[in-house]
């Protein structure tokens, strides 16, 4: 039997401690670390993408569960020693991260599924892995007649049952911009929506954090909200009375993108991960319940449970330029804080 003295044990413990302080140094080859949104995204990617990546490329993946803003903050704070290899981001945080130089450029030739993705979805520094569609969610039992336009949300009977959320999220920001347009404003003139919000805040059923909205809808605290089809499908799957309504001006779409972090340790495996995520097989599984993610691979036939019928539908939807939105967003958030509080 090997005898261990105190010095050996301390040396071993010290080595382990040092290994823990050096992320990546102790990682096995054939691995990649990717940030992923908590909740449905994490469940979906653990259940579908991780096994597919292991099977296709023999690469182990470790997920770091973080919201988009937290991912960007974490990488910025790491200052050149990234805690993970891949981001998953919405347009707002992606534009901020791109401006901060946090992405490696994307070489599309390293993606075997690149040709299966519509033109424009593989960009210089990111690859679209999923489309999100935003519109109005309502309780069909409470409202046999659904709201038809963004302006309807600010009139009775909808406003009294409305759940308001601010500019902290992508879906919240783009919804409020579209509401503003419906009241005669624009991305550069948000006065009309702030005027409407001021009037509506005393009547609205809730003004809540974005993450709290599905729970409030489930509990009957609110019966109308603006959200994405993914949330609607998940709640519907849990037996909640909820339906999606496309506003008269059109539903909003934005893309969720995968990016390789600047200075990533496992760049080759990051490409394999992205390639697997956009493959037809994986995209086909991710669109099904309980994940309900809108696919972006041309070989995938959309299932009936999605509120979108084909990739072509996405091109008819409303999109936004986040390079224009981001510089103004901080001021909008501050104004929302000041004007839409008690």
């Amino acid at each position: 039997m090997t005898k261990l003295n105190r010095r050996d044990i301390l040396a071993g413990a010290g080595a382990l401690g040092l290994a823990g302080l050096l992320p990546g140094a102790a990682r096995a080859s054939g691995s990649v670390t990717a940030a992923i949104y908590p909740g449905t995204w994490e469940e979906a990617y653990r259940a579908v993408v991780a096994p597919a990546l292991k099977k296709a490329a023999n690469v182990d993946i470790a997920f770091d569960s973080l919201f988009a803003v937290d991912q960007v903050a974490k990488v910025r704070a790491a200052r050149g020693v990234p805690p993970f290899d891949c981001f998953v981001l919405d347009p707002g945080p992606a534009a901020a991260a791109q401006a901060a130089g946090l992405f490696e450029p994307i070489d599309a030739s390293k993606l075997t599924n690149a040709a299966k993705v519509p033109a424009g979805l593989i960009k210089s520094h990111g690859v679209t892995c999923n489309a999100q569609v935003v519109g109005i969610a309502y309780n069909p039992k409470k409202f046999p007649t659904p709201p038809k336009a963004w302006t309807d949300l600010f009139t009775a009977p909808y406003v009294e049952r409305l759940g308001l959320t601010g500019f902290q999220t992508t879906f919240g920001t783009v919804s409020l911009i579209e509401m503003c347009k419906a009241f005669g404003g624009s991305e550069t003139n948000m006065e009309p929506i702030f005027a409407e919000l001021k009037k509506a805040v005393s009547k609205a059923a809730a003004v809540a954090a974005p993450a709290a909205m599905p729970g409030l809808f489930q509990q009957g605290q609110i019966d109308v909200m603006y959200t994405n089809t993914n949330t609607v499908a998940i709640l519907k799957g849990r037996g909640v009375d909820i339906a999606f309504a496309t506003p008269a001006s059109g539903a909003i779409t934005f893309q969720t993108t995968l990016h390789i972090v600047k200075g990533a340790e496992n760049v080759a495996n990051a490409y394999k991960y992205i390639d697997t995520a956009i493959s037809a097989e994986v995209q086909n599984q991710l669109q099904r319940s309980p994940y309900n993610m809108i696919p972006i691979n041309k070989d995938v036939t959309f299932v009936d449970t999605l509120d979108v019928k084909s990739i072509d539908d996405l091109s008819k939807m409303v999109t936004h330029d986040w390079t224009k939105i981001n510089p103004q967003r901080a001021a909008w958030i501050e104004r929302f804080n000041k004007e839409i509080t008690k």
């Binding site: 803003v69 901020a96 601010g166 059923a205 954090a209 993450a211 009957g220 605290q221 509080t341």
Partner: protein, 288 residues
């Protein structure tokens, strides 16, 4: 402590050992508290979100804007309300505990500790189920005919204080129970025997004797309630802005770290000022 300055009878060897024993904790504090605190302080003196130039802009903006001053006041007020509510409910429960049989005390301790064994996230979401329009409270009130329409309990300061009272209650109860169990029953009996009413006995005997326990509990509740980011965000909603949610928003959404640093330091000093006030109260109670 140097050997030269050692107390009479203390050996230099013992002093060295004591210093070594304290070193790991001291080093941990230096690395994981003092250093980040100094970095935070440094960041707060950048004038812009991009951290390109130094200046007092973030401090000036925070302390000259009525909205942010109100956020500080609301955060302090929330802490005070949580302390008041937990105090009102904890004292009767502590008195019941004191009077209970050992078996009943074990049951009560289990009930008191149970919330601590549950995640604060779960407890917070449970309060959504209880306080929502179609929640337990509203359904009960409507079934009893006490209200025709559901009351708006969520997204209000009242709802948040109710939830925080339950969430923070163990922090008030545990120190109070400890000090109450150490209280000499003869003092209470003497007060009653000399003709003092139950209320007079409580205010003149029990309350002063249990004040150290209450101060410990109040300190924990105040610090915990003012920094309860999850409960404030989920139950309070966006209508109620407190320092923790403001810090998160400025650091994680707006990426204005200098401003977030100012808000963070303000929260730290707000909590510390509350703790110092309670500590002063404790010293005052001892001297009087």
């Amino acid at each position: 402590m140097s050997a030269a300055a050692a107390a009479p009878g203390a050996s230099p060897l013992r002093d060295t050992v004591e210093w070594r024993l304290a070193a790991p904790l001291g080093l941990t504090y230096a690395v994981f508290f003092a250093a980040p605190f100094l970095i935070l302080l440094g960041i707060s003196f950048y004038a812009d979100a991009e951290q390109t130039r130094l200046g007092l802009d973030s401090w000036v903006k925070f302390y000259t804007d009525a909205f942010y001053l109100k956020v500080i006041f609301d955060t302090l007020k929330l802490g005070v309300l949580a302390v008041v509510a937990t105090t009102i409910l904890a004292y009767p429960l502590a008195l019941v505990f004191r009077a209970a049989s050992p078996r009943m005390q074990r049951v009560l301790i289990f009930i008191i500790l149970m919330p601590l064994l549950t995640s604060v996230v779960i407890r917070t979401f449970a309060w959504i189920v209880i306080l929502a329009r179609e929640g337990v409270v509203n359904q009960t009130l409507m079934a009893l005919g006490l209200t025709a329409t559901p009351l708006n309990l969520l997204q209000t300061e009242l709802g948040l204080v109710i939830a925080l009272t339950q969430i923070e209650m163990p922090l008030m109860l545990l120190p109070l129970l400890t000090i109450m169990n150490q209280m000499d029953q003869n003092l209470v009996d003497a007060s009653r025997a000399l003709g003092a009413s139950k209320w007079r006995t409580f205010f003149r005997v029990i309350l002063p004797l249990t004040l150290p326990g209450w101060i410990a509990g109040a300190t924990l509740v105040f610090a915990s309630a003012t920094t309860a980011f999850i409960s404030q965000s989920v139950i309070g909603g966006a209508r109620l802005v407190y320092l923790p949610s403001l810090i998160w928003q400025q650091s994680m959404v707006v990426y204005n770290w200098p401003f977030a640093a100012v808000a963070s330091l303000t929260l730290l000093f707000t909590v510390l000022s509350g703790i110092m006030a309670l500590s002063w109260l404790g010293r005052f109670a001892k001297t009087s």
